[in-house]
């Protein structure tokens, strides 16, 4: 199939960017979205044009490195799918695709479709952990955790930290990302003791890093490649209220 691409080209965080038009020809429907970009880049290199820069690594949908906005939707049209796992059979011959980087105040553009997501690391550094030292910590089965709690915790922990939720949010909020970690820890006995401190410091770090706040648009859940539920935001709000009492 043949496609027309409109790709955001920007040389650096302070430079002005613009959309450039490129042709993607003879694209195999079995190739992934990023493999399609690889082939476009090979063409560009042949023509002496700088290839399109985009972040990617594992190409199996788990590392969270890749992602761009495809026709207005983070990671493109397929539900619960990262850009690297999006396959070209989702598109039709003759389609036009507009590719843009994640757009958020907290994610400055590095080049083209690659953005700086250090801000997400700062949120985790603020308290997204249990304060367990490496060493003798007690036998694992001494701490019983009910299966529903373990499953709930795992549902939240599945977040890959790609930032699509931020790109989808009209407020540029990282609330889904932040609350997934808060909820994962809050429901476990290991994490419960520090829950109040965690919810305070992580939400504060989120705002400090330039993310907006949550006003319940739920665009984040719709964009999330892992299907992380907004119920974790509700859980975080409850944890926040509980923390006020302490």
């Amino acid at each position: 199939m043949d496609l027309t691409l409109y790709v955001w080209r920007q040389n650096g965080p302070e430079e002005k960017g613009k959309l450039e038009q490129y042709a993607a020809k003879n694209v195999s429907p079995d190739s992934s979205f990023l493999e399609m970009l690889d082939e476009v880049n090979e063409e560009l290199i042949g023509e002496g044009i700088d290839p399109i820069e985009f972040d990617n690594d594992c190409r199996e949908g788990i590392c969270g490195t890749c992602g761009c906005v495809v026709n207005g939707v983070p990671h493109g049209p397929q539900e619960k799918t990262t850009a690297c796992q999006l396959h070209m059979r989702q598109f039709s011959d003759g389609d036009s695709l507009t590719l843009e980087p994640w757009r958020a105040k907290a994610f400055p553009v590095i080049k083209d479709l690659a953005v700086d997501r250090d801000a997400l690391d700062k949120i985790i550094q603020a308290g997204g952990y249990t304060s367990a030292y490496t060493g003798e910590v007690g036998e694992a089965n001494q701490t019983l955790i009910s299966k529903p709690d373990a499953d709930y915790s795992m549902d939240a922990a599945a977040c890959i930290g790609c930032g699509a939720c931020v790109a989808a949010c009209p407020n540029g909020s990282a609330m889904l990302f932040t609350s997934a970690k808060i909820a994962q820890m809050a429901v476990l006995p290991q994490g419960a003791i520090e829950a109040a401190e965690r919810v305070n410091s992580m939400t504060e770090a989120m705002l400090d890093a330039g993310f907006g706040n949550c006003t319940n648009h739920y665009e984040c859940e719709a964009a999330c490649p892992q299907g992380i539920s907004v119920k974790f935001i509700a859980k975080t709000n409850r944890e926040y209220v509980k923390a006020l009492a302490k």
């Binding site: 040389n11 650096g12 195999s28 079995d30 190739s31 992934s32 493999e35 399609m36 690889d38 090979e42 290199i45 002496g48 044009i49 290839p51 820069e53 972040d55 990617n56 594992c58 190409r59 199996e60 949908g61 788990i62 590392c63 969270g64 490195t65 397929q78 796992q85 999006l86 396959h87 590095i110 080049k111 700086d116 250090d118 997400l120 690391d121 985790i124 550094q125 603020a126 308290g127 997204g128 952990y129 249990t130 367990a132 490496t134 910590v137 007690g138 694992a140 089965n141 019983l144 955790i145 009910s146 299966k147 915790s153 795992m154 922990a157 599945a158 930290g161 994962q184 290991q190 994490g191």
Partner: protein, 638 residues
Amino acid sequence: MILDGKCPTGPIEKTWDKHCFDMKLVNPANKRKYKILMVGTGLAGGAGAATLGELGYAVEAFCYQDSARRAHSIAAQGGINAAKNYHNDGDSVFRLFYDTIKGGDFRAREADVWRLAQVSNNIIDQCVAQGVPFAREYSGLLSNRSFGGAQVSRTFYARGQTGQQLLLGAYQALSRQVKAGTVKLHPRTEMVDLVVVDGVAKGITVRNLVSGEMESHWGDAVVLATGGYVNVFYLSTNAMGCSVTAAWKACRKGAFMANPCYTQIHPTCIPQSGDHQSKLTLMSESLRNDGRCWVPKRKEDCEKTASEIAEGDRDYYLERKYPSFGNLAPRDIASRAAKEQCDDERGVGPGKRGVYLDFQSSIDRVGEDLIRERYGNLFEMYEKITDENAYKQPMRIYPAPHYSMGGLWVDYNCMSNIPGLFVLGEANFSVHGANRLGASALMQGLADGYFVIPYTIGHYLAGVTPGEVTDEHAEFAKSREEAQARIDKLMNVNGKRSVSSFHRALGKIMWENVGMARSEKSLNFALKEIPALREEFWQNVKVTGKSDQRNGQLEDAGRVADFLEFAEVMATDALHRKESCGGHFRTEFQTDDGEAMRDDENFCYAAAWEYKGEGKAPELHKEPLKFENVKLAVRSYK
């Protein structure tokens, strides 16, 4: 040179405990004076940096990714082994030790493997304390499953995302140390040289992947946890950025590369669909718990759909060949068996390079819901890639390069032959011998990071004056200049052929000649082709863009250039090892029924290669392997 692994002696059960006591300690008040450079933030590097930070050392951690949470450990699906014996099925530290030695086809060091098995239980305890959401039973207890190469149920897992959850546990512990100020992170930074001063590792040169600047970092010790090298095959299950570069730069400075010919070709990957393909995707080995491998008995049935082939016309070849292990045979054996069926023209799918992995009998037995609970995310991933529903028709799988058992040579303390240079996880050669068992990579990464390096590095540092050599030493400037010169050289070739076309060409040479089956003829052929391709690379590669800003082409070019040097050592090692063992299968050395034939009399050693410069043959050093606790025997899974 005969190498000495410096393993402790005495009863194997006591070796690690005794060694821990014998090692020197660094006074708690002095620890902050020592600077440790950790390269790589996967399971081994992330866990190591976090733990060394907790101890109070000044740690600087480097990764090429944009965040310390993204290393390729994250993609491990199936699980992590531990000898907890929760199921009362006969497991023990000794059995895990025994299985790992046997699984590695008797080419690993006993003492290292014992230590791994011993600390495996601490790892599970540690991860639970960190809040890793392992799978649980309704009782609230931890759940287990079995994995290839073992007859006990000792694998802990978090759905099909175990690597992700363990890595995030380590990343969170690391984040806590960043907040505490003991660890400084350098993401989007690639190591491009090791700085050695008077024979001792004292720092690294790194390239900032955003600004293109060369930076020097000094340290009282340098730790490499930079993963494996199977991207030398171009198509592999590794991430796009995985490379041999850091390890290879260390080799160029004198570190020995051990057993590079031991590469693991994983049996359950999604077959290649076309030339556009950039990587291969693994389907967890755990699928073999409930999936049965088969191909049609007759060639003429290969064109039919699976449902058109009657039960009696199917060849469940693993169950036929290995009745006691069946579909749970170790990876090297399962991969070769799949290749044999396809070589016999009984493969299925496009190009006939595929075998079926069929879940129908398990779905009939336990129901689709339970299968979905166990493997749902894998079935979803399979459908996204192939557009096929594996609940309704069997998966198609084929072996793909996945893991490197070989790596930098290290002694029992995980220190390379260059004092002050430590190597952890997949980047070293230590515990998996010639073949790694499933769910052992995560175990090794975390064992090295959480429980080995914190002890052994102290023993080394206790004899070092902190800050004795800093980046003001002339070697650092020299290293920066050399690294910059190499970048300039790449930018100035101005040839016609893209970086990725060279990588594909190298991959083809390696896969066809140094892949699942090797022969003297194929290896000699590869040893002619690799230098020729390398020469063309330096005359005809085209790198676009600038070197003083982000430039993915330039990054790839540097990595491919290193693979082009490393590949030759890998083929040389495979040529010299005139036996078949584990992941190294030489067609000249097999039994009548096609099983690997080891030669313990002549090859019971680790082969450590010293790089002697381009165009020169590397020099072989041997570390003899002794088996005092597990008897050398023919590995049988029948």
